[in-house]
Amino acid sequence: MFTSKLSRRNFMQQSALWASAFAAGGTLGVRSAMADRSKELNILCWEGYNSAQVLDPFRESSGATVKAESLTNDPTMINRLRAGEINVWDLINVNNPWAREVMWPEKLIKPLDRARFEPYYEKMLPAFKPPYKWALDGSGQELIGMAQRFGPYSFVVNTDKISKESAEDQGWDLWNDSANAGKYGILESDDWNVFNLCCIAGFDPFKEHSDDEVAKFTDAAKRVFKGAKLVGDIATMNQALVSGEIDFHMTGGTYSVSPARADGATNLRAITPKKGPMAGGKGGIAWIEITSVVNNPDVSPLAEQFLEYVQDPEMSHTVAFAEGTFNPVSQMGNPDCFKLFTKEELDAIQWDTLEEEMAASAEYDIVPDYDKLLDIMTSAKREASGG
């Protein structure tokens, strides 16, 4: 059923990754600059882009060796570039703020040819019309990446237990209601959990926090983890929702619930709270993936070619429904692309309310004191287990 994410959570595999990262720091980094890379492309991405459905046609048409490695959080990918793998990868696919606010200032990615790539934005959904903020550097001069998948990402409920309307109205206070202890789960997506705990504690996550807010965050973290029925991966969350072990779970959206919805569990639904502590009183958070060319001194000429390749309507649809999770793509603004989506597919990604949910969501941004909050949360989680 929802087992697509199992293997990624495997510790041994993670360990192997780190071992290879260590090795990369030493050996791969000194690879000859003269190497011919015209038939080779390395992609570091969220899952989906590494699927055979997406890569195989490209491999065939270009005759190149394409290697794609998928990870499930942004900092990990960026730190691998920082640790010396900038010489290894050609493309990196992360969530919106990391390209503009972290990788560009650190010169980990390079600009795209604006004349060549900006026209693609013209055909996207209205929200992506150029100049699109997250595709540009801070000065607005350079085009630094291409947008494709996106989605609202706040929490998910079983609408048989809590109606969409009451969940939207109650919003983050669902976790402040002590009667709900033991009824919810937490997706083990720790960066997003930090954002959500800020919302539950009643303040905007994407800013520097006062001591008072940090104290509130600490309380919220301890309380929320203590009251959680379980913490687990996407498959576990969906399974627990379907079986009735839990009624709702935090950190979730179309990205996490779409596999279950596609499987027929349309009573599960991603919820965007109507109001909340984010700028403009917004209650939800949304993500937009940006794929950028890595500032590899010996970058593959295929990198830009691949970026164009995935803009194609057919390929955009494939990316949207690549293995794992299913997501809306910005290319759905193009009727040629949109018509490829069946009614069931649109239902899986909650197309009916997508626009209003995106409008009610703040866009994912960098949390300046993320490290501190994460440490507090990790510790709270551990203490909850120490009971």
Binding site: L6, R9, F11, L230, S243, D371, K381, S385
Partner: protein, 301 residues
């Protein structure tokens, strides 16, 4: 010349061009590739982890001024909870395994006869399936409206509380996953006890219990100790059971290490935790091996 390590020779000049004192015997010379392979494949990553554990927190290079900061933060923080959980769950798993496996091992070695092969096969087959898949199988079995509770509900109309996401189910999962690692060495140990030796003890007046205590147990001890060590080391390193079956109700140290390496992006902290885990487990293993010297048990010394 016997004292010259392979490493020195390799880093030095061509051995043949050197005086006789530099020449390696054929045995050692042939061992050079393997030693190199082990150094690169085994020692290097380990050294990297140890090295990282002394780097400043949240940095990604190995060539900075070493610091003890990570270790200080481990010892002043709450990581001890995770260590205790890992060791406690490991110990509970091993003890349960011992109680469960000894009778089964005894049966496989002595009672079941030709059925033993079939049973051994049955115990082995799950090893061919990924641990994660098997654990998810347990989820489907125990989850609300799942195989167990769903059937119970259908038959009796009442639905008991789900056992998932509790400490008990973590131990169950670990017992299940690590069973073969206790059972097989134990079976080997039990089958190493000669029948005549047991007969002799019985014939010399020992009761069944005394035969067990005086002959079976000590003579099968090598297998038992190996089973204990194997399953304990694996159980302390377990992560999937707590994450999946336990719903992260419990954060074992391995999970802490994973968090440090992923969401926290604190490689030095993760490395420090990993080094400490290795030290703790290594010390325990050495302690056990000192107490139960395998050669002495076998009467070889």
């Amino acid at each position: 010349m016997a004292e010259i390590s392979a490493h020195e020779t390799v880093s030095g000049q061509l051995p043949a061009a050197k005086p006789a004192a530099w020449r390696l015997g054929p045995g050692r010379a042939n061992a050079v590739p393997i030693i190199l392979f082990l150094l690169i494949g085994f020692a290097a990553p380990l050294l990297a982890v140890i090295g990282y554990s002394f780097m400043p927190p949240r940095t990604f290079g190995l060539w900075q001024t070493p610091t003890l900061e990570n270790y200080v933060s481990v010892f002043t923080g709450t990581s001890y909870i995770s260590f205790l959980w890992s060791l406690g769950l490991g110990a509970a798993t091993v003890l349960l395994l011992a109680v469960i496996c000894y009778p089964v091992a005894y049966g496989l070695a002595r009672v079941f006869g030709r059925w033993s092969t079939l049973l051994t096969l049955l115990f082995t087959i799950p090893l061919f399936v990924s641990e994660n898949v098997r654990i998810y199988g347990w989820i489907l079995f125990f989850i609300k409206n799942g195989v167990l509770l769903g059937t119970f509900k259908a038959w009796f109309g009442v639905e008991p509380e789900s056992w998932l996401f509790t400490q008990g189910i973590i131990v169950l999962g670990m017992v299940y996953v690590y069973l073969p690692f206790m059972l097989f060495p134990m079976t080997l140990g039990v089958s190493m006890v000669p029948k005549e030796t047991r007969d002799a003890a019985f014939d010399l007046g020992a009761t069944r219990w005394q035969v067990f205590k005086e002959v079976d147990l000590p003579l099968s001890m090598p297998g038992i100790v190996i089973g204990f060590l194997l399953s304990f080391v694996l159980a302390v390193g377990a992560i999937a059971e707590a994450k999946v079956l336990g719903g992260q109700k419990v954060i074992p140290i391995t999970h802490d290490i994973e968090i440090a390496f992923t969401y926290s992006q604190n490689w030095p902290l993760g490395s420090a935790l990993a080094v400490l885990l290795m030290l703790v487990v290594g010390a325990l293993v050495l302690l056990v091996l000192r107490r139960f010297d395998l050669d002495t048990i076998l009467g070889r010394r």
